[in-house]
Point group: C2
Chain length 348, copies 2
């Protein structure tokens, strides 16, 4: 598989999204965040998305350079109208706003309207944690993404509704980023393309019967994904998914049952540790906690315990050296869509 | 099993805790919340706790009537020093404070210090939701309660660290209240006493090997509880447990690794929907979501889908009519501890 340096791929993304109509600075924001996800090995939210994002620009679903405005605001809260700019551009705006409000008033909650795809959810609380804040993030998807059954049901009513949580530490922050379903839709697609079965207990066919066959999921008729914690504790996964739906959708005034033109609803909550125990003590206690957790003797069959996000940061460090692998097909499609918007890619 | 009316048990609790030294109003708060949990069928956090709470008063670990003070405060945030009053008294103080701040400033985050046991966690966000707010709650336990292994480990490093979420609806609020482990310690005890095995995949023995034997959990040497999502997705449960630990412990300045005299750390976050889409629209959208979720066709082997907390409220309504059953042994122990503090229980 060909590999690329992160700097080269960032330049490709910047050129591509600029040619789609984005100001250079905004084109660069999108490229940077997608390259970061690829560096972490989270390719479903990485450079592969260059293709879809460019196509969405061509289709008019993403509006590069569109103004991002405040639909409603108080000292601690805001609803941001993302105007169908790139979701990674509007999320950066929301992060900056949440940071400012949390510094001024101890905490903040910022919600989106009219947001396109927000990428890897952990990106956003991670950025707040890198600036010294404690941050929560929740993202739903509109009805077209309702692949996940509520516990006890056999038709999708919720999306994979991820939640993320990040806090400052010495060095890299701790970043939890998890879906509230048994498996992500993107992972089912990857397994299907490589001819592998889906892990048992993850998906249902259209009749509501368990299956390991990705074709039974995609249909038609379409199957569904089970909530996290299935089979016995799936009510917890459904509860978490509803929490995500309510905080990132309903609280912003978005109906769960209407076909809406946006992609994600995003909710960011930022908390300033200086309003509580103080940043210095917080980071010291996090170090103590991290040592305590990672010092747990390993269970049989395991190599040890790591903190959330630890594997992702390790892979990022490694790929900074070795480069980012992309499949020939992914690279071909990036080249193709670049051609459509008149960008000829320089050799690496 | 003898059954009791909720009114009678509330009076018993009020008399008992008043005799322990609590002002009547505070004694009544504790009794009310424990009776509510019993009505919901959550007896591990119900009237059964009369016994332990009274003993904790006698031991000086609960300090009835102790002042509850503000250790630190801003317009949106506070650390409340609970002074080892009953946890259900200090939590009520925290709820009132979070409500006031959220109404004044859109949102609030209130943390505890020196809190005794906060009872059923859902109690607190439910109370905020009944007052029209969206609320999150997180509770950790100090090191003595570290029964739960982090994913990949074989020694307890976290408590069962529940999280709860409640929102206003027409009628009863939606209340999610879940531990971040595969099973609660109290449930292991109940199964042991009734001679039943523990569900497979829930606990480890002291060597880190899977077991269904409650005696292998209690030891000595003590075993441990697996994180929610085990065996394959336990890293998510550990991530959630760490989120709870950080928000309810570390943010308040409490070390995770020190033997501390308090029982729970409590974090409450309250959000006023009027700062976002408005209360009226919020409740209308919740009704729409609830209809959509509960209208999901049932999967084979299931009877349908309910909203979080729905079973608890149904059982409460039923027990308001039929009374609260308590085992003979529980009632004997309540009578016994009442005698110790000079309370002779009236006949029902």
């Amino acid at each position: 598989m060909p590999t690329f340096t992160p700097g080269y791929l960032e330049q490709v993304g910047e050129d591509l999204f600029h040619a789609c109509g984005a100001p250079v600075a905004e084109a660069r924001m999108v490229a940077e965040d997608l390259v970061q996800a690829s560096l972490m090995g989270l390719e479903s939210h990485g450079v592969t998305r260059y293709i879809w994002y460019a196509e969405e620009c061509l289709a008019g679903h993403i509006r590069p350079g569109a103004p991002i405005t405040l639909a409603k605001e108080t000292g601690t809260t805001a609803i941001v109208d993302c105007g169908f700019n790139f979701g990674l551009v509007s999320a950066r705006f929301m992060v900056d706003l949440a940071e400012q409000k949390a510094r001024d008033n101890g905490m903040a909650c910022v919600l989106s309207q009219n947001s396109h795809h927000v990428g890897r959810l952990g990106t956003h609380p991670q950025r707040l944690a890198e600036r010294g804040l404690v941050a929560l993030a929740f993202a739903n998807s509109v009805k077209a993404g309702h692949f996940v059954v509520p516990f006890g049901g056999r038709e999708g009513r919720l999306a994979t509704n991820p939640l993320a949580f990040a806090v400052p530490m010495n060095g890299q922050p701790m970043v939890l980023d998890m879906s509230t379903s048994m498996i992500a839709e993107g992972k089912i697609r990857v397994l299907m393309h490589s001819g592998q079965p889906i892990p048992p207990g993850s998906i249902l066919d259209a009749e509501g019967a368990p299956t390991s066959d990705p074709l039974a999921f995609y249909g038609p008729p379409r199957g569904s994904i089970l909530p996290f914690g299935s089979p016995d504790l799936g009510y917890k996964g459904t509860g978490l998914a509803l929490m995500v739906e309510i905080l990132s959708g309903i609280l912003a005034g978005a109906s769960s049952t209407t076909d809406l033109p946006h992609i994600n609803g995003l909710c960011l909550i930022a908390i300033d540790p200086d309003a509580f125990c103080g940043r210095e003590r917080f980071v010291a206690l996090m170090q103590e906690l991290s040592d305590y957790i990672t010092g747990t003797p390993a269970a049989p069959g395991h190599t040890g315990v790591i903190m959330p996000g630890g594997l992702d940061f390790a892979r990022r460090d490694q790929r900074m050296q070795t480069g980012i692998p992309l499949s020939d097909e992914t690279w071909r499609l990036i080249t193709e869509v670049a051609g459509k918007v008149g960008v000829k890619l320089a050799d690496q």
